[in-house]
Amino acid sequence: MPLDKLQQWLPKLVLAPTMVITLVCIYGYMGWTALISFTNSSFLPSFKWAGLKQYAKLMDNDRWLVSSTNLLIFGVLFIAICLVLGIFLAILLDQQIRTEGAIRTIFLYPMAISFIVTGTAWKWILNPGLGLEKLMRDWGWSSFEFDWLVNSEMSIYTLVIAAVWQSSGFVMALFLAGLRGIDPAIIKAAQIDGASKPTIYRRIILPCLRPVFFSSIIVLSHTAIKSFDLVTALTAGGPGYSSDLPALFMYSHAFTRGQMGLGAASAMMMLAGVLAILVPYLYSELRGKHHE
């Protein structure tokens, strides 16, 4: 019966638009970018074939090297710290805190404010002459040193700080949710088995939160790779380009410096990186789930 056929096709039909969109607007455009990266498009896209020239340029452009190593440092630290902090706060908040609602909101609000401006605030706070350092010294701790923002060695870490500030709240929420989702009976059982609270968290609860780790890591790495507002607002890549990140590199070359080909090439490299690191993880996780 035709109506049946329809029922059979409905799911695919419903998913079809998204599929098309995904294919065109994500993979299509990726392809487009890939194409551009093989041309010597400068000011605007053009299709004069240039082979691997752009990639070659990219490879001996030491700003690119700096920014890609930065992304590595930034990404790893950012994700790690966010997870640790998020879990830590979540666990604390899970102890039947009276003012939970308020505190939770405080940890979450950074997500709500765009970096266009919090960037400025952070710039001040981290700036030795204006922010923390000055404050501490005004309060009499004269030996207090905190000049990462203006120190080419350390500037990248200030990005980590600000980024963690913005995202850890969300991770906290995720894990809080995870903790709430765990079957109380399991914990009871562990108590009966004589496990102490820390042991229960270490041996039972956290391992149970694997899916949460998965979601968090997806969201976080997604944030890390796309960090753009953050950099522009906080350090604009400086001092020098010591805190440059690929997203910024790509943007400024593709748009403000009229080196679209180079920009595209850098974008492709970024994607390649993501592919190399994330896909195996994605795969293993999604596979893993099917068994359960």
Binding site: D183, A185, K188, A189, Q191, D193, G194, A195, R210
Partner: protein
Amino acid sequence: MANLQINQVRKTYGKAELETLKGIDISIDDGEFLILVGPSGCGKSTLMNMIAGLEEVSAGQILIDNQDVTHVAPKDRDIAMVFQSYALYPNMTVRQNIQFGLEIRKMPQQEIDAEVERVANLLQIDHLLDRKPSQLSGGQQQRVAMGRALSRRPKIYLFDEPLSNLDAKLRVEMRTEVKKLHQRLGTTIVYVTHDQIEAMTLADRIAVMKDGELLQLGTPKEVYETPANTFVAGFIGSPAMNFISCQVKKDDSGLYTELTNLDGKATRLPAPAYLNRYLGEQVILGLRPEQITHYIPHKAEDQMIAKGHYDVLVTEPTGPDVIVQVMANKQEISCRVDPEYTPTVGESVELMFDCNKAVYFDPHSEQRIQPENSPSQASAA
């Protein structure tokens, strides 16, 4: 090895309006096997959790080895428990699940391994040791939950419906294992079950609960043969006891009650002397199906036994026996007959009523009518 006292324990859950447990009083001797039965939602699991220290006690106290542990942390009570909802650690393999408690208690590894092996064999899950709980069927999970408890040697075992998800065969085997375990270790055990046979065969004493109250606490025999009231009588035993309301009459050969079949012919059921005070009044006669059987010659002369013909409404062969439904005093009554005598529906069969174990209830209080100056059975207030 420990005794356990539960004194006037009450529980009201945080948001709930009415009490879940309304003052439970049970004292369990060292090495005793107590079984909790009662309809779903009557508070069995709650009570178990409180014994284990997993739920706050709203009122009353709990003593283990005569020490008040009402406010002692679970891990310091040295209790092992099997949860109704298995509560296996999803992140650990079966093996890790079982040995977790032992590791915590710093047992040397080789002993742990030995122990795990032992328990795994006992429960027939040795081939599953390296699976995750999510890869197990309900029955298998339940056995792992058992294993987790059995691998320890606590003062008290708490089992909350530990066999409910096993198929009949496995169930019987596990039941025997538990029984052996108890005989070997002699550990005090509190055990919740919905299963009649389990209750009857395992328990030293059975506690029948209803709506958070303890209705009767006694040996299986007591509970089965001298139930405190109609609820207990009806709840224990399957098919359930027949309740026949009838009048107590008297003639020269003594007290009796009457069953009348559809064509009005009455069967005279001899009644015990202590029903005297109910002479002429209505009582509820409680007869279990197996006390109403096909004609068995060699019993015939017993003078507490009556005979009568009744028309068969329904027959239910259960395998070993056939449950026959007949009509008496306008009520359906089920009787248990031997398959080889299986009657056909509509046919009139001669039934034998064994009144030796008949019990009588007061129609108003629904309490069992007790022989005067007979030591009243241990039954809750």
